[in-house]
Symmetry: C2
Subunit: 200 residues, 2 copies
Amino acid sequence: MQRSGHSFLRSYFSSQLQMDEAQIGEVLSDYRVKRLTKDEFLVREGEYCHHTFFVEQGLLRQFSIDEKGKEHILMFAPENWFILDRESALFHQPSAYNIQALEDSEVVMLDEQFVEKMSEKSPSFTQVNIRLLQNHILHLQNRINMLLSASAEARYLQFVEMYPNILLRVPQSMVASYLGVTPESLSRVRKQLAGKSTGA
Amino acid sequence: MQRSGHSFLRSYFSSQLQMDEAQIGEVLSDYRVKRLTKDEFLVREGEYCHHTFFVEQGLLRQFSIDEKGKEHILMFAPENWFILDRESALFHQPSAYNIQALEDSEVVMLDEQFVEKMSEKSPSFTQVNIRLLQNHILHLQNRINMLLSASAEARYLQFVEMYPNILLRVPQSMVASYLGVTPESLSRVRKQLAGKSTGA
DNA sequence: CGCCGAGTTGAACTGAATCAAGAAACGTGG
DNA sequence: CCACGTTTCTTGATTCAGTTCAACTCGGCG
């Protein structure tokens, strides 16, 4: 944990909001960057965590563990993404999910007053925030639609299309977990596709 | 379409916000109630619809249609729920989904200025709005987790638990569509469960 | 080198889908 | 109130996508 840094968060906000560096700095000076090593947990199921994390560097995942001990990835969060456990941070309930670093990472730990502070400094912050939430909803809706209607192959293809960079950064078994298939199945899907594209 | 009414929307807001009847009336007087007959569409795939609908009476569904012509229900919206096509209403893109009445219904048609108007009248409106969005995200997340991890039976049980009233109001085939299984499978799941509970 | 975790491949299995009849339930009009 | 057609639900037989379990390959790394 250190005081300097959060450069990504700075530029994120200065591009989105009409705030100058000084104003942003005023708010951000209260917050610390937390460094995580690969595989380190930020939140564990059952815990309370009232922070929202902004990923400065690295890559995290949020996932659940079912009765059979299998992991299911709800989201990946690379640089410039926010990640939090909403049950816990917003509704003060124990977390249903785990959040873990998949690479050495740096996250800014934002607290519950952050939104209020930002809203005071920048009148448009609230709008940006709402837009972020709406975007996220759209994204989740789309994923539900995929899970309801698409085959393993179609889901994989959309993932490749949508997150080419994440594809390269996480083990294949985690992509499988995100898509809701077993690693073995994903391996076969890929084999199939390789055959097709090389066609002939 | 008529001018009077929106009584549910009125009480919804007066319970959520510190606004008196007069203030609420001032904003709502601009909006009309639209009556829908069973099966009528509010939005069709590919259309643009910039309204947000508040369900006063009745029940609607939002659904997609896949390449094979199968319908997949993304959400049900009974009384006191908001329903809209976010691509269309928020991001001015053609709608990817359909919205249709499953019963004779009445909805209040809110436009893009509604949020602004309400925010002016009530300082806490924005907070209520954000909370609504956060809740929705939580809900969608939970559904994704179910789709990733739970069997047809488990999904059905959670649906019964969560939406007992909707269960009674929609054909079983639509519950199946919401759960991501075929009507035939749902029928068999229910048969199984009936056997279990009556158990010897 | 030899271990070790990630990915692949194979063979058997299974939950759910598909296709095709029937049986209830429902509303409408006689 | 019953007969009728329509839609919804159930049931059965079969198929299939994806899972499971187990063995094997490969690439990195001490």
